[in-house]
Amino acid sequence: MAGWTELFELVGGRWPMEEQGTAERLQMAIRAAGAAVLFAAVYGLAAGSTDMALALGNLWKLPMLVVLSTLCSLPAGLLAWKLSGASDGASKLVVGVAAGNFAATLVLAALSPLVALYYNSSAYWGGPLAMGTVALALVVGLFSAWRLMLRAGSARLPFGVLAVVQMLALLQFTHIASPILPEQTFFDLGVDGLVDR
């Protein structure tokens, strides 16, 4: 229970304890990542609820998007953290990223009943609502991570690098994992669908 309290403190932009050690922080980051995996799977079920095969596939596709895009962004973020001369340990950066993912997937899970309802009752609005919730989750996740990193005394550089790299990775993992929504969206084609050569 204490673990959940800590995670919700992070979502609120507060570090649970200033004197926390590296091991404790990393454990907290792993717990946040584990919760994000669960929440992402819940959203995947809702987004694919019109088609059983799609819903079951989304049980691992959405967690995959969250976990692997984060792993892709961490090395660049850690490098930027060191280059920017941040005074705190890099474990704070890892917690910041994990907390951002936790907050974003919490938004997705909280809105997943609405997404499922719209997909199963509206002819058109399920897709736009699903895309809208994802956009909102990204904004909330980025804001949470930014606020935590700022309070950890880090420069803006590591956050910017992390955000850009994670978004780029997310786009291509979406392409690999598609279809996620019942509709074909231009994100399904990855960067090729967004940028005409």
Partner: protein
């Protein structure tokens, strides 16, 4: 001829064309909802079905036909009926049409706005035809007999890549679990050190008479 086409244009209320690859062919399953009393549909695109398809029995409101085209292909050739705007979508494949307006969730023929797309979705859903919205919203009047220019192809990411990525995810989750277990002892040591430090400070303060 023109009269026949106009008559045929009245035949279809709404239609949905769903494609799915089977081997090296794309199989289109098309569902036409017909006007009362109509049983034949004139096709706007050349397909193996010919120029017209008809329902077996009179006064049948639904007509379901299957058509095939090579897969992948440089043209999108669902059996569009002469008539209203129709929806075209595929499973396990990607449509990349040319000359259609690109939206976030769909492509549409020029002039086919959001309200018309929604009307098509509502008409289809009201008759329980097809899947959710999205895909292509095509005005057959703007399509030649050769089909919709563009490409229908496989997803660029193969099944093997998707499965590989899934396995990587499993590995990462296992590592996270193992990492959490390994960090347990270190975290306990950090907590104990903090408690000891706090207790020492507390004792100092007590001895100094501050507390």
């Amino acid at each position: 001829m023109i009269l026949a086409l106009l008559a045929a244009a009245q035949a279809v209320v709404v239609a949905d064309h769903s494609g799915e690859p089977v081997g090296d062919e794309l199989v289109w399953t098309s569902i036409y909802h017909l006007e009362p009393g109509e049983r034949c549909v004139a096709l706007a695109v050349d397909t193996p079905l010919g120029a017209e398809v008809c329902a077996d029995r009179d006064r049948q409101p639904l007509l379901v036909v299957q058509s095939r085209q090579p897969f992948p292909d440089d043209v999108i050739r669902p059996p569009l009926a002469v008539g209203p705007v129709q929806r075209v979508h595929v499973k396990k494949a990607v449509l990349l049409p040319e000359g259609l307006d690109k939206g976030t969730l769909s492509y549409a023929s020029p002039g086919v706005g959001r309200s018309l797309r929604r009307q098509v979705d509502r008409d289809l859903m009201g008759r329980r035809i097809g899947v959710r919205g999205g895909g292509l919203y095509v005005d057959p009047a703007q399509v030649g007999r050769g089909g919709i220019p563009g490409r229908v192809g496989r997803k660029a990411a193969s099944e093997a890549v998707t499965i590989g990525v899934g396995l990587v995810l499993l590995g990462v989750l296992a590592l996270m679990w193992a990492g959490h277990r390994l960090l347990d002892r270190l975290a306990r040591r950090e907590r104990n050190a903090r408690w000891l430090a706090d207790a020492a400070v507390e004792e100092e303060l007590t001895w100094d008479g501050i507390r």
